[in-house]
């Protein structure tokens, strides 16, 4: 095997050449002759009735070709946006989905809800004209907090959802869990907030729609993590065009983190407007627009009880969560606080009894959906805050309390659906403790104390579920789609290889890692291999990239296709070389008969397949194989994160001194890329824990609508990280991969908060909610004193 480019090699990324030289091609970089620009007219109110729209001044403005509103959109038969995962309440009633039109018709429900669109020759003209659209609003009462939205008399947001309750869902055994709590030697209680976040991929969302009247065909360039799903939904639910008359291209995409999974109103409107106005239309969000239209993440409030017996063994966990889903149900919003959250509440621990109740709620805020981790960070935060609190209250070492309760026998069936297939939680705990030099902490703490600072150390032993998931299983839980992946491997007549994948790379480096799998299999140089993705005209179908699934699911599909190609290559070589198939080996760029000097160069097999002059009897010409891979289970990445902080008690400023991650991702294809994923995830997790918060005031105005007031992690907020991987191979897929894209964001917030609470434990501070801004920390210190 070629050690320098095969599985496990730290291969520098092939895509970097274009990105480092300014030759990347993102959606806004594309243009066509006659391109026009769209600017949206958005509601400045969080909740209002639209009583009139006067478009006349805008229509007469220079360069304007059209101004459209929601009544025209609905009149043309464009369908409402939908949520694609059906979750039912505990009483069996289906979730209550309110109508969501891409342009509001009679009611706006959050600041940023689009009411009209202006199409003009230049962006500046469209922007000028958008300000001339006069919309009359009749303001309605507003609610932004999910708990408030459930109170009697709260403003009613959708007629379909009485009391703003979308569903009241449950999982686990309530009676058994109540029994465990009643009989416990110790019950640890917590109430916490998982703060609302804005995803902030650096590339703002964009869409360019071109209609070809000659062929009645639409082409959409868009910032999507899953172009085929976009085409399916645009076609089947929004009636934009049948799939064969709609091409969706997701070219280079500048980060996603979940926010580019969904099909938003803007893409729908651009496609509809391009056909209606007869001109190509492009829309590119500015950052402020991103803050008020990209789906936000998290926003949970939870209460929980964790029961222990007299030997400090966990006997039960009971959780009540209220989840804010915003003003409309985004594409996968329903599954995030349910099947992606409560099913992970067992953490790394044997917990015989678990019960969780989740109320999902409408508010007058931007829709909330999956953001890096999606449900799993909320679960991890809850259980890991509880474990650290329990260790403090029980007076035991937080690492050892965890170890004592670790699951050690696999497979392990939790009480909340998941079957963990494999793991070694003590291994990652030990590795993290060693790398973080926990033994030397007391000395470092003393040194901090000597200069008037408080020092703390916090753990987080996370587990998450990736590679979602067997299609039949998610179908039974309400998913509207299957969650397999497809691949096609084409060996060209000259021996070069194109791999078509339904996964989509928006920073993950698939062009490198996927090529490494092929290089490894056929012992070929990376330069002979091309990964094709992101275009519905090139790749037949795919489910896209989210939930850390491209390795475990996407690459498994490639492996299945490679198996078929290898089998055919061996058949052809055996026939031509007059040998037994079992004796054929592929190595060093050649296909050989083992133990002889008979061989064909790799490209000669390709040529033989396409000339078809001398193939085995009955074999079809060509060398191209496809595969669909449906996962057998979720995969379960797990690990231990340890954060060490220093707190200035006079100012409340928290400094992250050390951050250590020990992860088990199963098989690592490219350690350079895997480590990079962990770094980025940790930075987002530290951002959530210390800096980031999407805030609305009581009237529903977003207070964090730009980088002047939403605190993104910057280089000088963060340390360098100590990361390492420790593999137990996933038994469920051919490469043994678990997935690494989200772990950092899932595991890190509780480690940081636990560290700060540890630092302040001597000052009487018992609780903090994220983000731990200097003000919050300072206020907690002063309240405790």
């Amino acid at each position: 095997m070629p050690k320098d480019t095969g599985i496990g090699a730290a291969v520098p990324r092939t895509e970097d050449r274009r990105f480092t030289t300014g030759k990347g091609r993102y959606t806004d970089d594309f243009t066509v002759v006659g391109l026009h620009h769209a600017v949206f007219v958005r509601s400045p109110h969080a909740h209002a009735r639209v009583t009139g729209i006067d478009k006349s001044a805008a229509e007469a403005a220079p360069g304007v070709v059209a101004v459209y509103d929601g009544k025209q959109l609905v009149g043309d038969g464009v369908g409402n946006l939908i949520c694609g995962w059906a979750v039912s309440s505990k009483d069996g009633t289906p979730m209550k989905m309110g109508a969501w039109s891409a342009l509001a018709t009679d009611t706006v429900r959050y600041v940023g809800d689009a009411v009209a669109v202006v199409i003009a020759e230049t962006k500046a003209q469209a922007r000028d004209a958008a300000e001339m659209v006069e919309v009359e609003y009749e303001e309605l009462p507003v609610v932004v907090d999910a708990t408030d939205a459930l109170k009697p008399g709260a403003p009613q947001i959708h007629p379909e959802a009485e009391g703003n309750l979308i569903y009241d869902w449950e999982i686990g055994d309530a009676a058994a869990t109540d029994g465990a709590i009643a009989n416990a030697a110790k019950v640890v209680e917590i109430e916490l907030v998982n703060n609302r976040l804005a995803p902030n991929a650096m590339e703002p969302r964009a869409a360019m729609a071109v209609y070809d009247a000659g062929t009645d065909h639409l082409t959409l360039h868009t910032t999507s993590q899953n172009p085929h799903v976009a085409r399916l939904v645009l076609s089947a639910f929004y009636q934009i065009a049948p799939e064969h008359k709609l091409r969706v291209i997701a070219p280079d995409v500048g980060g996603g983190f979940g926010s580019k999974i969904y099909i938003y109103p803007e893409e729908i409107v651009c496609l509809w407007a391009a056909r209606k106005a007869g001109v190509p239309v492009k829309w590119t969000a500015d950052r402020t627009e991103a803050f008020i239209t990209d789906a936000h993440g998290r926003d949970h409030v939870s209460k929980a009880q964790l029961a222990f017996d007299s030997n400090n063994r966990i006997t039960g966990l009971k959780v009540n969560t209220v989840a804010n889903l915003g003003a409309y149900m985004s594409l996968f919003s329903s599954c995030v606080p349910t099947y992606l959250y409560a099913t992970l509440l067992s953490g790394q621990y044997v917990i015989p009894n678990i019960y969780c109740d989740v109320k999902a709620v409408y508010t007058n805020t931007v829709p909330v959906d999956a953001y890096r981790g999606a449900g799993r960070p909320e679960a991890c935060y809850l259980i890991e805050r509880l474990m650290e609190k329990a260790a403090k209250e029980l007076g035991v070492d937080p690492g050892e309390l965890r170890r004592q309760n670790f699951i050690t026998q696999f497979p392990y069936q939790t009480p909340v659906i998941m079957t963990y297939d494999i793991g070694d939680f003590s291994q990652t705990l030990d590795a993290a403790r060693a790398a973080a030099d926990v033994a030397g902490f007391a000395q470092r703490k003393a040194a901090s104390e000597a200069k008037g600072r408080k020092r703390g150390l916090g753990y987080s032993c996370y587990i998450e579920a990736c590679g979602i998931a067997p299609s039949a299983a998610v179908g039974s839980l309400g998913a509207g789609v299957g969650l397999w992946e497809s691949a096609e491997v084409r060996v060209n007549p000259v021996g070069s290889i194109e791999v078509l994948t339904g996964s989509h790379s928006h920073g993950q480096g698939h062009e490198t890692t996927f090529a490494q799998v092929v290089s490894d299999r056929f012992d070929l140089p990376m330069d002979n291999i091309k990964i094709v993705h992101g275009d519905t005209d090139s790749v037949q179908f795919g489910m896209g990239t989210y939930g850390s699934r491209s390795g475990a699911v996407g690459m498994s599909a490639i492996v299945k296709a490679l198996d078929k190609v290898e089998a055919k290559v061996k058949k052809i070589a055996a026939h031509v070389l007059e040998a037994s198939e079992a004796d054929i080996v592929i190595e060093g760029g050649a296909v050989k008969v083992q133990g002889t000097d008979k061989q064909m160069a790799w490209h000669e097999v390709g040529l033989a397949a396409y000339t078809a002059h001398n193939l085995p009897e009955g074999m079809e010409p060509g060398l191209k194989e496809g595969a669909f891979y449906d996962p057998t289970n979720f995969t379960f990445p797990a690990g231990c994160y340890i954060c060490e902080v220093e707190v200035d008690p006079d100012t409340g400023v928290v400094t992250v001194e050390n951050f250590t991650a020990a992860d088990d991702f199963g098989q690592v294809i490219n350690p350079l890329i895997v480590e990079g994923q962990v770094h980025g995830g940790i930075a987002q997790g530290i951002g959530q824990a210390m800096l980031e918060h999407a805030v609305y005031d009581e009237s529903g105005q977003p207070l964090s609508g730009s980088y002047m007031d939403y605190t993104m992690p910057r280089a000088d907020d963060l340390p360098s990280f100590k990361v390492s991987t420790h593999e137990t191979f996933c038994p469920g897929n051919p490469l043994g991969i678990k997935g690494c894209g989200e772990a950092g964001a899932i595991g890190s917030p509780p480690a940081l908060v636990n560290a700060v609470l540890d630092a302040l434990s001597g000052m009487g501070v018992k609780h903090l909610d994220m983000p731990l801004t200097p003000r919050r920390v300072w206020e907690a210190i002063n309240a405790a004193n």
């Binding site: 480092t20 970089d29 243009t31 991929a201 500048g254 920073g507």
Partner: protein, 155 residues
């Protein structure tokens, strides 16, 4: 509309601009140099950093008309004459200093100005310098490593 002339990546260019046309709009839309990106509207993210007369500036808050006669360098002008990657670009590739690539042009341009002013910066100095450049993918860890590696390669 007024005409503006400048030198971009060593080539004399000119075009008509409105008074409100930003340098980044002139580069991206008139010259089709789309390597310079726009990631925010408050001059915070640094995806738009280019060099004007040798200094790094945010092209999203610079008027094109104000660059009359200026020497402008963009990311497209940073590779070596033979097309191979420049030292900083190569260091970013070798050290996995980028993921989605959207912030990368600004990071490379900003790093080039840093290394011109301070050829051997410490980690803390690099982190402080990058305060005006946001990256959402890398957690900055490998960007810092890349810039240190570029400094070492220049030494």
């Amino acid at each position: 509309m007024p005409k503006v002339s400048m030198t971009v990546n060593g080539k004399a260019v000119s075009g008509e601009v409105e008074g409100r046309t930003l340098l980044v709009e002139f580069l991206r839309e008139s010259l089709r140099l789309t390597g310079t990106h726009v990631g925010c509207d408050t001059s915070q993210c640094g995806a738009c950093v280019v060099h004007v007369n040798g200094e790094s500036v945010k092209s999203c808050t610079t008027f094109a008309a104000a660059c009359e006669g200026a020497e402008v360098t963009t990311i497209e002008g940073m590779a070596n004459a033979d097309g191979s990657l420049g030292t900083i670009q190569q260091a970013f590739q070798d050290n996995h200093g980028l993921q989605c690539g959207f912030c990368t042009p600004g990071m490379v341009m900003s790093a080039a100005d840093l290394l011109k002013q301070n050829p051997d910066p410490s980690e803390a100095e690099i982190r402080e310098w990058l305060e005006g450049n946001l990256c959402r993918c890398t957690g900055y860890h490998n960007i810092v490593r890349s810039i240190k590696a570029a400094a070492a390669a220049n030494a």
